[in-house]
C-alpha cells in the first residue's frame, strides 16, 4: 500500500490499464505532455508515446465522437473532458451515440471499453462554469453507466473496473478532493464492482445516502447527529446508473428513514429518482418522508458557494427533522 491522493490514484489506474491493454488510448484537451490541467495523465505520454496519450483539438463533441469511433472499432478509449461543465457540447455524441450504439445495431456494434473521465463539483471557488454536477442528465440515458468515486482508493478501483466494463461509462471525479483526499491505495491492480453501493457505516435510526465529494459532508453530519444520540447508517452509492436499489432498500427497511444528499440542484436531481423508488420498495417501513438535501435550483454561484452547498449543517438539521417527524 502507498499513500496517494486521488489524482495519483487515477494516474496509477490509467497506467496499469494501459500496460495491460495495448490498444488503450488516453486523450483530451492538454492531456498529452502537460498531463492534463489537473495532472491526472502526468507522465503517460512519456511512457506510452504520443500515439497512445495525446492532446486533441479543443472540441468536446469531437473528442466524444472520436472516442465512439475508436471504441466501435475495438480500441479501448479513455477520453478526458476537462471540466464536467464542458461536457454539454459532447452531449449528443454521448447520449445519442455512445449510449445507443449497442441497442440501435442489435449488438452488431458497441462501444464497450469507452470511459469519459471528467472532474465535477464545486467548493473550489470555480463559479458556475467550473462547479456543476451534471450526473442526472446522464442517469436518464439507458445504455450509459454513471460512476462517482469518493476517495483515492475508490477512484482507482472504480476507474479500472469502468475501463474494463463492456459498456460506456461516464466517470465523474470530485475535483475538490483531487488533492485533498489522501489515503492508502494498493499499488497493484484491483477493481471495485460497478452497480454496487457500499455501506460505509452501520447505524439504526436513519440511512444517509450520497456519492462522491458529498460523502465527506454526510459523514460529518452523522458525527454531529451521533453526539445527539442519533445512530446513522451511511451508504455510498458509487454507481448512479445502474444503481443498487437492493442495498439502499434493505438499509431503509432497517432504519425506517432515508436522507439523500447531492450537490446538483434539487429539481430533476437523482435524489428524486431514488426517493420515488425507495418509497415504492419500503412504503410500509418508512417512519418519515424521505428527505433530500441538495443544491439550490440556481446556477452554481461564486460568492454564495457556502450558502448554496448542501453542507453538513443543513444535513444535520434534516437528520433531526426526519428523526423527530
Amino acid at each position: 500500500m502507498a499513500e496517494m491522493n486521488m489524482l495519483q490514484a487515477i494516474n496509477s489506474a490509467l497506467r496499469i490499464a494501459m500496460e495491460k491493454d495495448p490498444t488503450m488510448l488516453v486523450f483530451g484537451e492538454d492531456v498529452g505532455h502537460f498531463g492534463g490541467v489537473f495532472r491526472a495523465t502526468s507522465g503517460l505520454q512519456d511512457t506510452f508515446g504520443r500515439g497512445r496519450c495525446f492532446n486533441t483539438p479543443l472540441t468536446e463533441q469531437g473528442i466524444a465522437g472520436f472516442a465512439n469511433g475508436l471504441a466501435s472499432n475495438g480500441t479501448t478509449a479513455v477520453a478526458e473532458i476537462q471540466f464536467a461543465d464542458y461536457i454539454f457540447p459532447a452531449f449528443d455524441q454521448i447520449v445519442n451515440e455512445s449510449a445507443k450504439f449497442r441497442y440501435r445495431s442489435g449488438n452488431e456494434f458497441n462501444v464497450g471499453g469507452l470511459v469519459y473521465r471528467t472532474p465535477y463539483g464545486g467548493g473550489i471557488a470555480g463559479g458556475h462554469y467550473h462547479s456543476q454536477s451534471p450526473e442526472a442528465y446522464f442517469t436518464q440515458t439507458p445504455g450509459l453507466k454513471v460512476v462517482v468515486p469518493r476517495n483515492a482508493h475508490q477512484a482507482k478501483g472504480l476507474l479500472l473496473a469502468s475501463i474494463r466494463d463492456k459498456n460506456p461509462v461516464v466517470f465523474f471525479e470530485p475535483k475538490r478532493l483531487y488533492r485533498a483526499s489522501v489515503g492508502e491505495v494498493p499499488e497493484g491492480d484491483y477493481e471495485l464492482p460497478l452497480g454496487k453501493a457500499e455501506v460505509v457505516k452501520e447505524g439504526k435510526d436513519i440511512t444517509l445516502l450520497a456519492w462522491g465529494a458529498q460523502m465527506e459532508i454526510v459523514e460529518k453530519a452523522a458525527e454531529m447527529a451521533e453526539k445527539e444520540g442519533i445512530s446513522c447508517e451511511i451508504i455510498d452509492l458509487r454507481t448512479l446508473s445502474p444503481w443498487d436499489v437492493d442495498t439502499v432498500a434493505e438499509s431503509v427497511k432497517k432504519t425506517g428513514r432515508l436522507l439523500i444528499n447531492h450537490e446538483a440542484p434539487l429539481t430533476g436531481g437523482f435524489a428524486g429518482e431514488i426517493a420515488a423508488t425507495i418509497q415504492e420498495e419500503c412504503f410500509l417501513y418508512l417512519e418519515s418522508p424521505i428527505a433530500r438535501v441538495c443544491g439550490l435550483d440556481t446556477p452554481y454561484p461564486l460568492i454564495h458557494e457556502k450558502e448554496y452547498m448542501p453542507d453538513a449543517l443543513k444535513t444535520f438539521e434534516a437528520i433531526k427533522a426526519s428523526v423527530n417527524f
Binding site: T23, L25, G51, R52, F54, T56, P57, T59, Q61, G62, A64, G65, F66, A67, N68, G69, L70, A71, S72, N73, G74, T75, A77, P89, D92, Q93, N96, E97, K100, F101, R102, Y103, R104, S105, G106, N107, E108, F109, N110, G112, P142, G143, K145, K166, N167, G195, P242, V245, D246
Partner: protein
C-alpha cells in the same frame, strides 16, 4: 509563438481573399455519351468490377422504385432513395478494400449492396422483423452489419463524421492496412460534428476518406442557403487536407479519385476529402415532396446527367453489356424484391424479451423487473399488443 502552418509571403497593401481565389477544378472522365474525354486517365477497372458495380446500380434502382411503392401502400413506414447518386456511392465503394470500414449517413444502401447485403437482409430491416440484424429498433433504412464492415446508421446528422476519425485512428494504431470512409451530404457539413471530425482527422493524422455527396438539397434547403463558400472542398483545404472535387455522376471519375484517395490515406496516414457534385433526383425521404421547393424542369435537366445511364453507355461501348441483358436484369431484380417483400412482411416481430436486450451487455435488475411487469400486462390485455402477445 510558433504558427508554422500559416507562414506565408508578406504584402504591404491590403489584399483580401475571396472564395473564387481558391481554384478547385472538377474531375470528369466520362462524357454524356459514355465515351471518355480525350485526355482522361481512366481508373483501374476490368469487366468483372464494372459488372459488379452495374449490378448494384440496377438492384438499387429497383429497390428504390419498389420500396417507394411499398411505403405509399403503407407496408413500410419510411424510405429514402439514392436515385441519382449511384455513381457517387458505387464509384467510391468499388475503390475500397472489403474490410475498409464504412460510416454512412443514410442514403448509401448501394454501397451496402455492393458489399453483399442480401435482398432478404434489406427487407428484414425495413419490415422490422425478428431476422433484422438491428432487431427492429430503428426506422427503415438504418442498416448495419459488422460482417460487411458497415456501421449501423444513426439518425442524428453528422455524428458519423468524428466517429470516422476515431475508426481511422483505431485502424492505424492496430496496424491494419485499412481506411475508414465517411459519407455525408453537404447539409450535414453545417453541423458542428463536421468541423470537429475533419479538424481532428487532419491534426491527429487519421486515415479516413471523407466523402461528401453534394447533391444540391438538404431536405428542402438548396446549397445557396446552406453555405456561402466554395462548396465543401474549400474546407478540406482549410483543414490542411488532401482534397479533390469530382463529377459525382461520373462513375469512373469517382472511382479514380477514390482509388487514389485510398492509396494516399494509407501511405500518409492522413485524411482525404472528396466532394462529389451530384443531384438528388428523388425526394429527401418519403415524408418530403420536392415539388414544393424545386421545379420539374430542374429535375428533368438533371435526368439528362443520369449516372447509371452514362456508365451503362460506357459498358455497352466496351462490349461489356447488351441492352437485352440489361432489361432482363431489371426484371429479375423486380421479381426478386417483390418476392422478398412478401416473405419479410410475414416474418414475426422480434419477441418482447428483445426490448431490454443490448441496452447494456447484460440486462440490469431494474430492466428485468420492468420486463416482467410489462409481460404480465401484455398477458392481461393480449388484444392490445398483437405483435408480441402471441409469443410471450
Amino acid at each position: 509563438m510558433s504558427n508554422a502552418s500559416t507562414n506565408q509571403e508578406t504584402v504591404h497593401k491590403v489584399s483580401f481573399l475571396d472564395r473564387e481565389s481558391l481554384h478547385i477544378p472538377i474531375l470528369k472522365i466520362l462524357q454524356a455519351d459514355g465515351t471518355p474525354y480525350e485526355q482522361a486517365v481512366l481508373p483501374q477497372i476490368d469487366e468483372a468490377l464494372a459488372q459488379r458495380i452495374y449490378d448494384a446500380c440496377v438492384f438499387t434502382r429497383v429497390l428504390d422504385e419498389r420500396m417507394l411503392g411499398a411505403q405509399r401502400q403503407g407496408r413500410i413506414s419510411f424510405y429514402m432513395t439514392c436515385t441519382g447518386e449511384e455513381a457517387a456511392i458505387l464509384g467510391s465503394v468499388a475503390a475500397l478494400d472489403e474490410k475498409d470500414v464504412i460510416l454512412a449517413q443514410y442514403r448509401e444502401h448501394a454501397a451496402l449492396r455492393y458489399r453483399g447485403f442480401t435482398t432478404e437482409q434489406f427487407m428484414n430491416q425495413m419490415f422490422s422483423n425478428e431476422k433484422d440484424l438491428g432487431k427492429g429498433r430503428q426506422m427503415p433504412i438504418h442498416y448495419g452489419t459488422a460482417a460487411l464492415h458497415y456501421q449501423t446508421i444513426s439518425s442524428p446528422l453528422g455524428t458519423q463524421i468524428p466517429q470516422a476519425t476515431g475508426v481511422g485512428y483505431s485502424l492505424k494504431m492496430k496496424g491494419e492496412r485499412n481506411v475508414a470512409i465517411c459519407y455525408f451530404g453537404e447539409g450535414a457539413a453545417s453541423e458542428g460534428d463536421f468541423h470537429a471530425g475533419m479538424n481532428m482527422a487532419a491534426v491527429l493524422k487519421s486515415p479516413v476518406i471523407f466523402f461528401c455527396r453534394n447533391n444540391g438539397y438538404a431536405i428542402s434547403t438548396p446549397t445557396e442557403e446552406q453555405f456561402a463558400g466554395n462548396g465543401i472542398a474549400s474546407r478540406g483545404v482549410g483543414y490542411g487536407m488532401h482534397t479533390i472535387r469530382v463529377d459525382g455522376n461520373d462513375m469512373l471519375a469517382v472511382l479514380a479519385a477514390t482509388q487514389q484517395a485510398r492509396a494516399y490515406a494509407l501511405e500518409h496516414n492522413a485524411p482525404v476529402l472528396i466532394e462529389a457534385m451530384t443531384y438528388r433526383l428523388g425526394a429527401h425521404s418519403t415524408s418530403d415532396d420536392p415539388s414544393g421547393y424545386r421545379s420539374k424542369e430542374e429535375e428533368a435537366k438533371w435526368r439528362e446527367h443520369d449516372p447509371v445511364k452514362r456508365f451503362k453507355l460506357w459498358m455497352i461501348n466496351k462490349g461489356w453489356l447488351a441492352e437485352a441483358n440489361d432489361e432482363a436484369l431489371y426484371e429479375r431484380y423486380r421479381e426478386e424484391v417483390l418476392a422478398a417483400v412478401k416473405v419479410a412482411e410475414k416474418i414475426p416481430a422480434p419477441r418482447i424479451d428483445e426490448i431490454i436486450e443490448d441496452v447494456y451487455d447484460e440486462p440490469t435488475p431494474l430492466l428485468k423487473k420492468q420486463l416482467e411487469s410489462l409481460k404480465a400486462h401484455v398477458k392481461k390485455y393480449p388484444q392490445a399488443y398483437p405483435k408480441t402477445a402471441g409469443r410471450l
